[in-house]
């Protein structure tokens, strides 16, 4: 096999690293002429830094992290030419907190879709009793998990910066911190919600597929400079990853996928738990899950504006178009032939539909005014 290039790609031990692990283990990278080494990393910040300095060629990445990378320094600009998954994360609370919520609001907790209204009542009661505020963990400031948790809390009138305390905890430590009572709940990707449930420590209140059906999560990220210098390698890597995502979605391959992911050098969690988290909802390929949709980029950017991570005057369209590159996805996907349904490759010609659980509509053409309209937010001029 004539090697096109040697690549080193980074990942974090989470179920949604599956396309990378599969592309390597099933030989999809090799069939594209790529000799790929996978490097398991301990933090998102290290993934970002290593990609920026070229110690990694590309990586499993939080979508908003790719969007934020070039904001302060254009030399650090990144691209997201492929979305790695939809869904997979969830908001989980300790069994103790769940019991308290059930006590204060039995009806709300019995609903098929649990909003934070029950939690808002408890927060109110605790404030009246002078009890300490509750602590929730997520994985990174620029992450779907942070924005999802904030959105869900604020939708019920809970100010995520005042009424509760939000902290960042690495995914593999979430469950331990819940056990120790250092946190009362968290928003994290698979398989860690399933691990908490499995150990009898936590209860899932809302899954990503309920919070935002078909909502975005991780991407494959590279620097803009690397993509420019290595167009052929990038296309080859994208082709392999798209094939891997399609493979990972096939129910017939799930047993093998579970075995791969549960390996200690990958996610390193018991196969049964990985299997449960996989079955419940995560999507890698179907429903155009791989397509990096412009409207998803704009929604992330609207939340960065809303929570004051970026200034409101930022040109959101310009950032979205520079980082999210559906054109690169299309080019790679269409070259694969029958594996990919051409209609799926152009699925973003129409709006994704659906939207978040509260039914509020999001018009990507008005992302800035959408950000400004929330009653709870930290907008900076």
């Amino acid at each position: 096999m004539s090697g096109l290039a040697d690549l080193t790609l980074g990942f974090i031990p989470l179920t949604d690293c599956a396309p990378l692990v599969v592309a390597k283990a099933r030989g999809f990278f090799a069939e594209e002429g790529l000799e790929v080494a996978l490097s398991r990393e301990a933090s998102w910040a290290t993934i970002r830094d290593k990609v920026l300095v070229g110690a990694l060629d590309g990586a499993h990445m939080l979508a908003p992290m790719a969007l934020a990378a070039g904001l302060n320094d254009p030399r650090s600009a990144m691209l997201a030419p492929l979305a790695l998954n939809q869904n997979g994360s969830a908001i989980t609370v300790s069994t103790r907190l769940a019991a308290q919520l059930r006590q204060i609001d039995p009806e709300g907790m019995a609903e098929p879709l649990i909003t934070a209204a029950s939690l808002a009542k408890l927060v109110e009661q605790r404030r009246a009793q002078d009890a300490p505020i509750l602590t929730f963990a997520m994985v990174f400031p620029q992450s779907m998990h942070n924005y999802a948790l904030r959105y869900w809390l604020a939708q019920a009138g809970i100010d995520p910066d005042r009424d509760v305390r939000l902290v960042v905890t690495p995914p593999p430590r979430m469950v331990e911190h819940l056990r120790l009572g250092e946190i009362d709940g968290f928003c994290v990707g698979a398989p860690w919600n399933a691990v908490a449930v499995d150990e009898g420590l936590g209860e899932v209140l809302i899954k990503a597929s309920q919070l935002w059906p078909g909502g975005p999560d991780k991407v494959f990220g590279v620097t803009a400079g690397w993509a420019e210098r290595h167009g052929d390698e990038l296309r080859a890597a994208l082709r392999a990853l798209i094939r891997a995502a399609a493979w990972a979605d096939e129910p017939g391959n799930h047993a093998e996928l579970v075995a791969l992911l549960s390996r200690p050098d990958h996610v390193g969690v018991e196969a049964e738990v990985v299997a449960r988290a996989l079955k419940s909802e995560i999507v890698f390929h179907r429903d155009a899950a791989g397509l990096p949709r412009r409207e998803h980029a704009l929604w992330f950017l609207s939340q960065m504006v809303r929570w004051g991570q970026v200034r409101a005057e930022l040109d959101l369209d310009q950032v979205a178009d520079a980082v999210y590159r559906p054109d690169l996805f299309r080019e790679a996907a269409l070259s694969l032939g029958p594996i990919v349904d051409p209609a799926m490759v152009f699925a973003d010609a129409a709006p994704a539909g659906g939207g978040l659980f509260d039914g509020a509509s999001f018009d990507p053409a008005k992302a800035s005014s959408y950000a400004a309209a929330f009653p709870i937010g930290r907008m900076r001029p």
């Binding site: 301990a42 933090s43 998102w44 290290t46 830094d49 290593k50 300095v53």
Partner: protein, 192 residues
């Protein structure tokens, strides 16, 4: 000036701390994991953290929230000293620095941390190699013993035969000896 060293690898952390203590005047504290309360009490000017510590993301969030306002040195030195940030990332070191600290002081701390990380890696490499050498020497001794018994060779003859096999196959002598022992085991019927 106070420096907090976070490293899940205690031996490496000790080396870094020891190295930093040579940079005067510094107060150095080290921990395997980042504890927000302990860190707040210590109030470090610089946090040096191993890139393989998962606590990096927690430090990022503090930077974001501006609670202690440490800025990632990766961003910080990049403008004034091109290449330093890249060197640090490749060496596996990250640092967070309180706003307004002189770049030269940060640089001297980072230099120490980077050289100690490299030293740790070298020591670990040397140790692994020493272990492998020892193992290989033992294997060669056993293979020699086998050849002496089975082929009726003297020690010198057995060694020469092993060396010839290694040269013919283009493999290290330890590898050839291990193969020989494995095959002898199979022939004797103790395959496992």
């Amino acid at each position: 000036m106070r420096v907090l060293v976070i490293d899940p690898d205690p031996a490496r952390a000790a080396l870094v701390a020891e190295g930093l203590e040579g940079v005067q005047p510094l107060e150095v504290r080290r921990a395997a994991t980042f504890d927000e309360r302990e860190a707040a009490a210590f109030a470090p000017d610089v946090v040096v953290i191993a890139a393989d510590s998962p606590d990096r993301d927690t430090l990022e969030s503090l930077r974001e929230a501006g609670q202690h306002n440490p800025r990632a040195v990766v961003m910080f030195v990049d403008r004034s000293e091109p290449g330093l940030a890249e060197q640090a990332v490749r060496a596996g070191v990250a640092a967070y620095v309180v706003d307004g600290l002189a770049p030269a002081r940060v640089r001297s701390i980072l230099d120490v941390a980077m050289s100690r990380f490299a030293l740790t890696q070298q020591l670990r490499g040397d140790l692994a190699k020493a272990k492998a050498d020892l193992e290989s020497r033992k294997t060669v001794e056993r293979a020699k013993g086998l050849l002496m018994k089975e082929r009726g060779l003297d020690e010198d003859g057995a060694y020469r035969l092993l060396r010839k096999l290694a040269m013919d196959r283009g493999k290290p002598i330890g590898q050839v000896a291990a193969d020989l022992l494995a095959f002898a085991g199979v022939l004797k019927g103790d395959a496992s």
